[in-house]
């Protein structure tokens, strides 16, 4: 969604073509991110001729301020929905930065790793908005990610397993 998309595209901006093909996963309710992504990929294709990408949509796992109990149910549903997608794509790397959409995708990949089907490196970059506290996605994925990146030093202190590279978006 919105700000998350902008941030993630910035994160992608300096990556080499080793990080290809790129599979974008969006919430079905997200109207605006697709245009931003296509625009980014179009510019990218002008630079790197073999550049490839795809777009998939999954049901949104949680609305802002949805109750805890119903969130667990909708997230479980989203994980089940994500499993065939993650299984199909078998990504080497999942890069995410905090929208609720990323939790089921990461957890489905984590599950496939436990089942020895595919080992995916999960890299989580907490949004630049998060200076003192982690988002809910961050709090969950802190325990499931291979690399957890924060953009402010306070968070590095609070979450010692995290990586601090300064502001990267």
């Amino acid at each position: 969604t919105g700000g998350h998309t902008t941030e993630i595209l910035r994160l992608l901006s300096c990556l080499s073509e080793s990080y290809s093909p790129r599979h974008y996963v969006l919430a079905d309710s997200d109207k605006m991110s697709e245009a931003k992504i296509r625009s980014f990929e179009q510019k990218r294709a002008e630079k790197f001729s073999k550049s490839q990408f795809s777009l998939d949509r999954i049901p949104r796992s949680r609305e802002v301020r949805q109750s805890w109990i119903s969130s667990v149910v909708t997230t479980l549903y989203s994980i089940l929905y994500s499993l065939p997608l993650t299984y199909k794509r078998k990504p080497d790397l999942i890069l995410c930065n905090g929208p609720g959409t990323c939790v089921p995708v990461c957890l489905s990949a984590f599950l496939l790793g436990l089942l020895r089907i595919k080992r995916t490196i999960i890299v989580y970059v907490e949004s630049i908005c998060r200076v003192e506290t982690l988002s809910l996605s961050g709090k969950i994925l802190y325990y499931f990610s291979d690399y957890f990146i924060v953009q402010w030093p306070d968070l590095k202190k609070k979450y010692p397993r995290s990586v601090y590279l300064g502001r990267i978006v």
Binding site: R10, S13, S18, R130, V131, T133, R167, I168, V169
Partner: protein, 104 residues
């Protein structure tokens, strides 16, 4: 206007930007070197947007206020005291990932 793809044009020609505390709005504005007043929606509880606005303000990059203090802020502001905003460094992220994947 609400669903315009980009406000880049408007931003470019603005002398002052008054915005909510969304990261995209703040960063886009600061990167264009425009003075920014961030208005916090204080009716939104658990307002994590506040964290970024507060930090940017602490670091001297923006002015901030809430809806009720906006007029007062506009009247008393000193925009020359705002510091220029250094860009983020996604290349550091790329470098980090490359090392993690042994691509260096």
């Amino acid at each position: 206007f609400r669903f315009k793809d980009s406000l880049a044009e408007e931003l470019q020609s603005a002398d002052l930007v008054i915005s909510h505390a969304g990261a995209g709005s703040c960063l886009e504005t600061l990167e264009k070197g425009k003075p920014l007043i961030v208005v916090i929606n204080d009716r939104l509880m658990d307002n994590h947007q506040l964290e970024l606005a507060k930090q940017l303000h602490r670091d001297g990059y923006v002015l901030y206020c809430n809806c009720s203090t906006l007029v007062e802020t506009l009247q008393s502001m000193d925009l020359s005291a705002l510091k220029p905003f250094p860009p983020g460094q996604p290349e550091k992220f790329a470098s980090f990932l490359d090392k993690a994947f042994g691509l260096q």
